[in-house]
Symmetry: D2
Subunit: 136 residues, 4 copies
């Protein structure tokens, strides 16, 4: 099961070449990551501020297949193919909304970190259960 | 006396219309603001982190005169025309490097704030002396 | 009559001081500007790409009243208090969603420009009619 | 031989967690990419605008090793380990300036593209020679 969300391409997101500046895709992926938590009952800002649990990025692999332009939207499917003891891999598969073409794909490994000590920690049980629901 | 610095226009700074996206000018002005402190002997990150003094923005007036494109650079003159008890006005006058044309001008009022309590505070004497040097 | 839209504060929008980096407010205002056109029947990307009509910013006045943090959302009211021959003033009044407090206000003057020649042009009649509907 | 450049971490580059927002690293890498061309005699903006040659990103692998904070700077070494017929791999190895620790590493595959037709094209000879100088 994948979580689905959509991000619009905004006027300021394109670069000198008229297509979405590639670092912006990671902002889109992070927004999808925030939506994934927020819309599954775990407000990400409260997770950070109250429980002091965060998921800094440690490894990324990304493929770009189709450019996006201003006026496009990106449909993103989020899943969690690997759930380890102290890290998880989040997969983002993006489709250009207007034609459904596969636009991009990323696997982003995040460490589970105590945001006060900045030390690695075990993924809390409720989050592990959430990630496992979206594992396949 | 004005403080002078320069910021390059980067590939990702332009928008769908091929010119620098206007919110980016405020990032340029903030970089000039950081340079103003750093190059006058007050590391802005230490001011924030160690002395807990910051200057959040409360009012802005800006005029845009000439567009900038990728490959341009912006020469910025920073001065501090008004130094109040608990706030100061920073003036940024920008020139397009390639032809020297007046490109933009901003007056940005910043409150002096204790970053731990987020309460207004008097501008510390050493900063007041710095600002006054660049007042005219 | 004002047009209403909402933008969420994202994880990456806050700065070293833990509040929304003030240049981001202009990105929020521009998103509200895009929504204003798009949701009133004028796709802004098509206006730019097909009719070659754009609205670069020439003057800004902004007040910041309340800081926003990650997890906040900004409710924005867009109106067009002045509609001139070749320019218009867009007003953005922002409220922090969680408590309804007045957070920010901006008046942004935009020139109407032929995006092929980059010359000022008269505001087309259909856009003038749209702006006038939101004038008060 | 590697090309060396440095980017400062700016006030607005950090996120809610107080460290550089990971998408910003790709902006740093792109700035290093621009510097690589500009400081080796090939103005990247002229390459795009006059020769219509560009290098959109098609694949990324990145590791993050150390967080960066406001006040840090990132020393970046750029090399070009693979130079193909119509694509090249750019390697960015980043060190945190204050302690020299290895902070990040990315291999970014770029296609060589005719920016008017958006079709893949052979890497021009002068650029191939440049890339080969920084291959090891």
């Amino acid at each position: 099961m994948a979580f689905r969300t959509q991000v619009p391409v905004r006027f300021g997101d394109v670069d000198h070449a008229g297509i979405v500046y590639y670092p912006k895709f990671f902002i889109y992926f992070h927004e999808a990551f925030e939506d994934f938590f927020d819309e599954n009952g775990v407000a990400y800002h409260a997770l950070l501020n109250q429980r002091h649990v965060g998921f800094p990025t440690v490894h990324i692999e990304t493929d770009y297949k189709q450019p996006l332009r201003y006026g496009d939207a990106l449909d993103i499917e989020v899943s969690v193919p690997k759930v380890g003891a102290r890290s998880a891999v989040f997969r983002y598969v993006g489709f250009r909304h207007r034609d459904g073409l596969h636009a991009c794909r990323a696997e982003i490994t995040c460490a589970c970190v105590d945001m006060q000590s900045f030390q690695a920690m075990s993924i809390p049980d409720d989050l592990r259960a959430l990630f496992t629901r979206f594992q396949s």
